[in-house]
C-alpha cells in the first residue's frame, strides 16, 4: 500500500498519527507525485468521511508545501480559468479535475500546484461542513421542522399561561436568564466540531457557567443574558435587541429568513431553530399571519426581546451563542416543547436546546464550538466528545457524535470552597481587542488532520494539562491552577497556534508579573485567542488591588498600542460569580417589566445604534482633518460628477474589450531569481552604489492594511505581527532591520523613508519616538501624504458591478444567502444616503483615504523629504520602493547592480504567479509590455494567461523619474510648491483614475461593529509602465522576496515558508 495512504487507513495509532512532513521528507519528486495519484484515487472512492477529508488535507499540504521545492526550477505554468471559475462557484471537485488535466498538458508546476492546493483545501472544508450540516439536520427532534411546509401542519401552540390576559389586560412575559461560559481549557481548540467528531477521545473542555457584571458599573454579578417572550395582539412577530438598539415588526415569512437585512439575525435564527417558524416553511409562499393564528390564535403574534446587559462583543465568553440558546430555550418553553415553563431545564431539555442552538448557528451562518452553550448548564462541567455508536446518525460516518456529553461536577468532586477560591483569585477582563478567530480555527483543523508533530504533541500535552486543571480545582489549589493555565497558554496553545497571543497580551502578562511578583499566579486565555476575554489569577488577598491594577495596565497598554492593533472598545474588568442553576426562566407579571432600555427604544425619537448620526464635534473634526491634509474641494466635486455620470466607475476601470492581453515573452523579463552568469559583476556594481551612498529605501506605509484587520483602520506598519528573533516584531522594525544589515555590510548609513498618511503619520511618528527609532543608525524619514480624498457612498451601479459582474468567491449556501441579503440591504443604504454623496458617518480617519500609491513618490517631492535627502546626500541616485507587507524586499546588491546595468528608469520586480496572486500582472497589452491592474483587465479571464505577478517592489532611477515629472534636482531643492504641485498633477493626468470599493468598519456601543462599502478613487503606481518615457524594465525575483503578507490567515504558511528567509536579511538591534 502506498505510504501516505497507509497513514490514513491504518488501525495502528502509531502509524495513523505519523506527521505528513516526516513521511514526505524521504520521498523523491516522482514518488511524491505517485503518492498524490493514489491519494486522489482514494479520496474519490473512500466511504469513510474523515479518511476522505484527511486525504484531501494531505493532498493540499503536499501541493502547497512539499511539492514546490522539488519541482523543476523556472517551469512556467498557467492556471486554467475554467478551473478558477469552478473554484469561485464552489465546484471544488470539478476544479481539481480541470487542474489535473492542465498538469497532464503542462507538467507539474508551481502555479498548478498552488491551484490544486487551494482546490483540495476548500473541498476538504466543504466536505466537513456538509457533514456537520447533515448531522445537524438529522438530529432526532429537528427533522420535523424541515418537513413542515404549511401553517395548517404547524404542530406547536403557545402555552395557556402566556395566552390568557391578566386582570389588567396585560399578558405574562416569559423571561429566560442565562449565564455565559468561560473555558478553563479547551485542550487545544478541541471543541471545533470537526475535531470533536473525528477525535472524540481528545475533545475535552473544562467550562464554567458564570454570572457577570462590569466592575465599577454593576452592583453585583447576574446572569448577563435575558430573553423575553410574550404574546401580543397583532399577527406579527416583533423582534427587539436592546443592546443593538434594533427592533423590527415582521409580517411576512420571507422577512424572518432574511437574516442580514438588519441587526436581528440572531433573533431570527432563534425563532426558526426553536420551531416557531420552522425552517421547512421557507419559500412556501404562505403567510406568517396564518402560521401565528394556528400557533398563538387569531389576531395574535409574538414579541421576542433580547438583552445582554451591555456585555461587549468579542468577550470570548460565548455571549452570542448563549443568547441564541436563551432565546431558543424561551421560545421552546413558550411552545410547550419543554416540560418546564419556568425554573431550570432538565438534562434532556438542555441537550435539545444545545442541538437547536447548533442548528441556529448554522442557519445564521456563524459557527460556535460545541462547548459554547455551556451557560445552559450550571456550575463547572467537563464537556467531552462522544464516540459514535450503532444507532447514532453519525455511526460509520464519523468517529464521534455531533453533540458532546456534559458532566456537571458535583459538590463531592469540586467542593464549594474550591469554587469560592476560584472566585476570590480570578480577575476576569476584556482587553478590548476585536479579532476574527475564524482563520485560527481553520489552521487548528488543518494542523490536526496533518498531524504536524509539534501540534500533535502539544495536543496531547493540552489533554494532560486539562486533567491537572481539574485536579487543582478538586483540591482547591488555585495557585497550581494558575500555574497550569499559564503553562497551557505558553506551551500547547502557542505551539499549535503562535498567533493566539500578541504583543498586547504579552505586555499585560509581563506587567502583571512585574507589579505583583509571586502573587500573580497565572494567566488564562478565554476562547479562541487572546486580547479580548482573558483571566488573570492573583493571590486572593490582592484580588481587589489587582482588579484596579489590571484596569490601569490595560488602559495604558491599549493607549500605547491602539494604532498598531485592532481595538474595538475600551478594556473592561468584570465582576463574576459561578452560576449554580444554568439557564432558568420565570414569569413576569404586574410591576415586573422588560429592561428599562427596552422602553427607551420604543420611544419614537430613539434612533438605531449604528444608524445614529455622528455628533457635531466629529463633523468638525472631519472638516479640520480635511483642511490639514490638503483636501481639494474642486477636485472632489469633479470626481463626484464623473462618478455620477459613470465616467469614473467600476466598468470604466476596465481596458476596452478589444484590448489584446498576452503573456510577456522571455525577452521582456530579466530572470534575477537565481544568480546566473554575470551575477558577480552585478553584485560588485550594486555594492559600489550602496557604499557610495547612492541608494535609499522607501517603504509604503500610508495605508491601513484593510485586509489585515478587516477595515479596522489601524496602522499595519506598527502591527507586531509575529515573533521573530525572540520578540514580536512590527512590519516597521523588520524593514529597518533589513536596512540596518545592508548598511552595516556595506559600511554606509542607508536612508530609510516610510511614507505615511493622515491615518498613519502621527501614530507612526509617536511609535518610532517611543521605540527610539529602533536605534536605526541611518537617516530615517517619515514622508507625510499630501493628497487625500473623501470617500463616497457608492452608486448602486458600482456596487452591483462589484458584487454581480466581478467574479466572486461564492460562499456556502447558507452563508451566501446571508451575504446576498446583507448586500441587498447595503444597496438600499447607498440609495437612501444618496449615490456618490460624501461618506461622513464614521470616524474622520475612516471617511478620508489616501489617493493611491501613485502619489507616494510625488509626496516625497511635495513634502520636502526628497529635498532633505538630496541635501543630506547629493549623490543619491536610486530609490528602492516597496510595500509594507513585502517583507522579503531588500537592497540586494545583485538586483541593484542589474538595475543599474540596464539603465531603466523604473525596474519592477515580478514573481511567478500562484493562484492567490490576483489583481493583475505583467502583460503585453496590444504588443507592449506593461503592468496591468486587476481592475483594468478587460475581462476576468485575461489575467489567467499571465505568468508574472507584480510584487510592487520598484527600483527607481531618481533622475529619470524626476524627468518624468518634468523636474530637475535643482527644482526639487528650490522647493517651489506651485511648480512641484503642477508637475505632479500633470503626471497624474497621464495615468488612469480608478474607482474602488473598500470596506470600512464602523464601531458603536459595546464593541459592536458593522462593515460598509465605500467608494474611493485612486491612481496607481504600476500604471507608470504605460508611459514609454518611463523606460521601464521587469525583473523576475524569487517568491520569498516578492511575497506579500496581506492577511493574518497567511501567517502560518508565511512563517513556515518565508520567516527564515526574512530573518536572514535582518539584523535586530
Amino acid at each position: 500500500m502506498p505510504k501516505l495512504l497507509n497513514i490514513i487507513t491504518s488501525e495502528d495509532p502509531s502509524v495513523r498519527d505519523t506527521a505528513l512532513g516526516e513521511a514526505c521528507a524521504e520521498l523523491s519528486l516522482a514518488e511524491l507525485l505517485e503518492e498524490c495519484i493514489e491519494l486522489d484515487l482514494f479520496r474519490r472512492e473512500a466511504g469513510n468521511l474523515y479518511e476522505r477529508v484527511r486525504a484531501l488535507f494531505f493532498l493540499s499540504a503536499i501541493h502547497r508545501v512539499h511539492l514546490p521545492p522539488r519541482l523543476p526550477p523556472r517551469r512556467m505554468g498557467y492556471i486554467p480559468f475554467g478551473g478558477q471559475e469552478h473554484l469561485l462557484r464552489r465546484r471544488f471537485a470539478e476544479a481539481i479535475d480541470v487542474f489535473h488535466l492542465a498538469v497532464a498538458e503542462q507538467g507539474a508546476n508551481d502555479a498548478l500546484s498552488s491551484a490544486l492546493a487551494e482546490g483540495y483545501y476548500e473541498l476538504a472544508f466543504q466536505t466537513l461542513a456538509a457533514q456537520v450540516r447533515r448531522s445537524v439536520r438529522t438530529v432526532r427532534g429537528h427533522q420535523w421542522m424541515f418537513r413542515m411546509g404549511h401553517p395548517a401542519d404547524h404542530p406547536l401552540s403557545i402555552r395557556d399561561e402566556l395566552l390568557g390576559p391578566l386582570p389588567d389586560g396585560s399578558r405574562r412575559i416569559l423571561r429566560e436568564r442565562t449565564p455565559v461560559r468561560m473555558d478553563l481549557s479547551h485542550a487545544g481548540w478541541s471543541d471545533i466540531f470537526f475535531l470533536g467528531m473525528d477525535y472524540p477521545e481528545g475533545a475535552r473542555v473544562l467550562n464554567v457557567s458564570i454570572d457577570l457584571g462590569v466592575h465599577g458599573r454593576d452592583p453585583e454579578p447576574r446572569p448577563p443574558i435575558e430573553a423575553h417572550v410574550r404574546v401580543i395582539d397583532e399577527p406579527v412577530i416583533v423582534l427587539t435587541s436592546v443592546d443593538l438598539k434594533a427592533t423590527a415588526r415582521i409580517g411576512t415569512l420571507g422577512e424572518i429568513f432574511d437574516f442580514a437585512k438588519d441587526d436581528l439575525g440572531l433573533l431570527k435564527a432563534a425563532v426558526i431553530a426553536s420551531g416557531v417558524v420552522p425552517p421547512g416553511i421557507e419559500g412556501s409562499g404562505q403567510g406568517l399571519g396564518n402560521l401565528l393564528e394556528r400557533m398563538v390564535g387569531p389576531g395574535r403574534g409574538l414579541e421576542v426581546v433580547s438583552w445582554v446587559n451591555g456585555i461587549p462583543k468579542g468577550s470570548r465568553l460565548a455571549v452570542s451563542t448563549n443568547l441564541l440558546a436563551a432565546l431558543i430555550g424561551a421560545l421552546m418553553r413558550a411552545t410547550g416543547q419543554t416540560g418546564s415553563l419556568t425554573g431550570p431545564l432538565r438534562e434532556n431539555e438542555r441537550r435539545l436546546v444545545l442541538a437547536r442552538a447548533i442548528l441556529g448557528e448554522w442557519l445564521g451562518g456563524s459557527g460556535g464550538g460545541w462547548q459554547d452553550c455551556g451557560g445552559v448548564w450550571p456550575g463547572i462541567k467537563l464537556i467531552t466528545g462522544v464516540p459514535a455508536e450503532e444507532g447514532d446518525p453519525e455511526f460509520n460516518v464519523s468517529r464521534g457524535c455531533l453533540l458532546p456529553a456534559h458532566h456537571v461536577f458535583g459538590e463531592d468532586e469540586i467542593p464549594e470552597s474550591s469554587r469560592q477560591a476560584l472566585e476570590n483569585s480570578l480577575v476576569l477582563v476584556h482587553g478590548g481587542m476585536a479579532q476574527d478567530v475564524g482563520p485560527i480555527l481553520e489552521m487548528v483543523t488543518e494542523k490536526y488532520l496533518l498531524r504536524s508533530p509539534v501540534a500533535w504533541a502539544a495536543r496531547q500535552e493540552a489533554l494532560a494539562l486539562l486533567e491537572e486543571l481539574v485536579n487543582s480545582l478538586q483540591k482547591g489549589d488555585i495557585e497550581a491552577l494558575g500555574r497550569a493555565a499559564t503553562r497551557n497558554f505558553r506551551g500547547p496553545i502557542q505551539s499549535i497556534i503562535p498567533w493566539a497571543t500578541n504583543l498586547f497580551t504579552e505586555t499585560l502578562i509581563a506587567r502583571a508579573e512585574q507589579e505583583f511578583g509571586e502573587d500573580f499566579w497565572g494567566f488564562w486565555m478565554l476562547g479562541g485567542m487572546s486580547g479580548g476575554g482573558m483571566g488573570f489569577i492573583f493571590a486572593p488577598e490582592r484580588k481587589t488591588e489587582a482588579q484596579e491594577a489590571m484596569a490601569r495596565i490595560m488602559e495604558e497598554t491599549k493607549d500605547q498600542l491602539q494604532a498598531a492593533l485592532p481595538f474595538g472598545m475600551n478594556p473592561v474588568v468584570y465582576e463574576f460569580s459561578i452560576n449554580h442553576t444554568g439557564t432558568c426562566a420565570d414569569l413576569l407579571e404586574g410591576g415586573m417589566q422588560l429592561p428599562e432600555s427596552y422602553h427607551r427604544l420604543q420611544e419614537p425619537a430613539s434612533e438605531g445604534g449604528q444608524g445614529a448620526d455622528r455628533g457635531e464635534a466629529e463633523s468638525g473634526a472631519l472638516r479640520r482633518l480635511m483642511e490639514e491634509s490638503g483636501f481639494d474641494h474642486n477636485v472632489h466635486e469633479g470626481i463626484r460628477a464623473s462618478v455620477r455620470a459613470g465616467r469614473i466607475g467600476m466598468l470604466s476601470n476596465r481596458l476596452p474589450p478589444t484590448t489584446r492581453i498576452e503573456d510577456v515573452g522571455a525577452d521582456d523579463v530579466v530572470d534575477c531569481s537565481v544568480v546566473a552568469q554575470g551575477g558577480e559583476e552585478a553584485r560588485r556594481r550594486g555594492a559600489e552604489a550602496l557604499a557610495g551612498g547612492e541608494v535609499a529605501v522607501v517603504t509604503l506605509a500610508a495605508g491601513a492594511g484593510s485586509r489585515w484587520t478587516g477595515g479596522a483602520g489601524t496602522c499595519k506598519a506598527l502591527n507586531p505581527f509575529a515573533p521573530l528573533g525572540g520578540s514580536y516584531r512590527t512590519f516597521l522594525e523588520v524593514h529597518l532591520a533589513k536596512s540596518r544589515k545592508t548598511a552595516r555590510e556595506h559600511g554606509v548609513p542607508l536612508p530609510h523613508i516610510f511614507t505615511t498618511s493622515y491615518l498613519t503619520h502621527d501614530p507612526t511618528s509617536r511609535f518610532l519616538e517611543s521605540a527610539s527609532n529602533y536605534h536605526y543608525d541611518g537617516p530615517l524619514f517619515l514622508s507625510p501624504g499630501r493628497t487625500v480624498g473623501l470617500r463616497m457612498v457608492p452608486t448602486e451601479r458600482d456596487l452591483r458591478f462589484a458584487w454581480e459582474e466581478t467574479p466572486q468567491q461564492q460562499l456556502d449556501a447558507q452563508q451566501q444567502k446571508i451575504r446576498d441579503s446583507a448586500r441587498a440591504a447595503l444597496i438600499d443604504w447607498a440609495r437612501n444616503c444618496g449615490e456618490a454623496s460624501d461618506y461622513t458617518g464614521n470616524l474622520p480617519e475612516q471617511c478620508l483615504h489616501p489617493m493611491g500609491h501613485f502619489y507616494e513618490i510625488p509626496n516625497l517631492v511635495l513634502n520636502g523629504t526628497l529635498r532633505l535627502l538630496l541635501e543630506e546626500r547629493p549623490q543619491l541616485k536610486t530609490l528602492l520602493l516597496h510595500n509594507v507587507d513585502t517583507l522579503g524586499a531588500s537592497v540586494d546588491p545583485v538586483i541593484l547592480g542589474r538595475h543599474l546595468e540596464r539603465g531603466h528608469g523604473l525596474t519592477f520586480e515580478v514573481i511567478t504567479r500562484r493562484l492567490a496572486d490576483r489583481g493583475g500582472g505583467l502583460a503585453r497589452v496590444d504588443g507592449t509590455p506593461r503592468l496591468v491592474e486587476g481592475l483594468a483587465m478587460p475581462d476576468a479571464e485575461s489575467e489567467f494567461g499571465l505568468s508574472y505577478y507584480n510584487s510592487m517592489t520598484t527600483w527607481i532611477d531618481l533622475d529619470q523619474y524626476l524627468a518624468l515629472l518634468g523636474l530637475t534636482r535643482e527644482e526639487v531643492l528650490a522647493s517651489d510648491q506651485d511648480r512641484l504641485a503642477r508637475a505632479v498633477r500633470d503626471l497624474a493626468e497621464c495615468v488612469p483614475t480608478y474607482l474602488t470599493i473598500k470596506e470600512v468598519k464602523k464601531r458603536w456601543g459595546h464593541g459592536q461593529e458593522a462593515v460598509y462599502p465605500v467608494a474611493q478613487v485612486e491612481n496607481l503606481w504600476g500604471d507608470l509602465t504605460i508611459l514609454p518615457e518611463a523606460n521601464c524594465g521587469f525583473f523576475l525575483v524569487e517568491r520569498q522576496r516578492g511575497q506579500q503578507l496581506k492577511d493574518p490567515a497567511q501567517l502560518d504558511e508565511w512563517f513556515a515558508e518565508s520567516s527564515q528567509y526574512v530573518q536572514s536579511l535582518c539584523e535586530w538591534e
Partner: protein, 286 residues
C-alpha cells in the same frame, strides 16, 4: 378474555352536552350520539355499559340512551378530577372484569365489515392484557392525542407492542421517542379513543387516586404508561375513523361520514354538490 362491559366517559364540565346531540345515523334514523355509540356496543356483544356523567345530567342521559336506557349504569363524577379519575369512578361497575373504554364525545365509523368495537373485541379474543386502539396521525395533530411508542408484532400487520405512552407530545419528543418503524415520516400512533383495559388498570388507578392531593387531577396516560412498562400492552390499528364531535366542524364531519356510509349516500352526495355549486365565499346567512 373478551370484555362484556363498557365504560363511556361523558363527565366533562364543559362538554358533557356533546353525547346528547342528535345526529342522523347511517340508516337515516335521528339519534343522539350516545345512542349511536350504544347501538354499536351492544350489537358487538357488550352486555352492559356504564356512563360517567356530570352531576345533574342523569335525566338527559337516560333520555338520550333511548331503548338502551335499561342496560345502562349512570355514574356521577361529583368532582372533576381528570380523565383517569373519571375512569376510576366506574371501578365498582367493572369489578374484576376487563372492560372497553370509549369517549362519549367521539363517534367511531368502521371502514370494513365489522364495527370498530367488534374489531377491538376480536383482538381481545386472541390477546390478553390491555389493548388500545390507535391510528397513524400526522405530527401536526399530536397536540390533541395520547401517543404510543411501539414496535410491530411480527406477522400481525395491525398490532403493536406498546413500550410507552406520552400525553400530547411535542413533535420534537415524538421524533426522539415515539417513531414507529413502517409509518410514514411525520406520522405517529395516536389513541383512537377506544381501549380494552384489564382490572389491573382500575387497581393502578385506585392507588393513584388514593395519592391524589387536593385540587390535583389524574390523567389516564400515566397509568397506561405504567401498564406498558409492567405488563403486556398492545395497540391495534383499527379499520375505521374516529370523529370528535366537540371540535370545530367535528359534528358536521361525523354526520357526513355517517350519511355517506348508508343507503342515502347518493342523495347526500347530490346535496353536497349542489351546496358547493351554489356557495360563494363570504356569503352571509339571512
Amino acid at each position: 378474555m373478551i370484555p362484556t362491559k363498557a365504560v363511556i366517559t361523558a363527565a366533562s364540565p364543559t362538554d358533557h352536552h356533546l353525547p346528547l346531540q342528535t345526529l342522523v345515523d347511517s340508516e337515516g334514523v335521528p339519534k343522539t350520539a350516545l345512542a349511536i355509540i350504544l347501538d354499536d356496543l351492544f350489537a358487538s356483544g357488550i352486555g352492559s355499559a356504564a356512563v360517567i356523567i356530570h352531576p345533574g345530567t342523569r335525566e338527559a342521559y337516560l333520555q338520550a340512551a333511548g331503548e338502551h336506557a335499561d342496560r345502562l349504569t349512570l355514574i356521577e363524577q361529583s368532582d372533576p378530577r381528570g380523565y383517569g379519575h373519571a375512569v376510576w369512578s366506574a371501578h365498582k361497575f367493572t369489578g374484576d372484569d376487563s372492560f372497553v373504554l370509549l369517549l362519549g364525545d367521539h363517534l367511531y365509523l368502521s371502514s370494513g365489515e365489522s364495527s370498530c368495537v367488534r374489531q377491538m373485541l376480536e383482538v381481545t379474543a386472541t390477546h390478553d392484557g390491555c389493548i388500545s386502539a390507535v391510528n397513524p396521525t400526522h405530527e401536526s395533530e399530536l397536540r390533541y392525542y395520547g401517543t404510543v411508542a411501539a414496535t410491530r408484532v411480527p406477522a400481525s400487520p395491525s398490532l403493536f407492542v406498546v413500550h410507552d405512552v406520552v400525553e400530547k407530545p411535542t413533535p420534537t419528543q415524538a421524533e426522539q421517542e415515539l417513531i414507529v418503524p413502517g409509518l410514514r415520516a411525520g406520522n405517529y400512533l395516536c389513541f383512537f379513543g377506544m381501549h380494552s383495559l384489564t382490572a389491573g388498570v382500575m387497581e393502578r388507578l385506585e392507588e393513584e387516586v388514593s395519592l391524589l392531593g387536593r385540587g390535583e387531577k389524574l390523567g389516564l396516560t400515566p397509568t397506561l404508561a405504567f401498564m406498558a412498562r409492567s405488563e403486556k400492552y398492545l395497540a391495534a390499528e383499527l379499520a375505521g375513523e374516529r370523529f370528535n364531535v366537540g371540535e370545530r366542524y367535528g359534528l358536521l364531519r361525523a354526520q357526513l361520514s355517517l350519511a355517506l356510509a348508508g343507503p342515502h349516500r347518493d342523495e347526500v352526495l347530490t346535496d353536497i354538490i349542489e351546496i358547493t355549486a351554489h356557495s360563494r365565499p363570504g356569503c352571509q346567512s339571512s
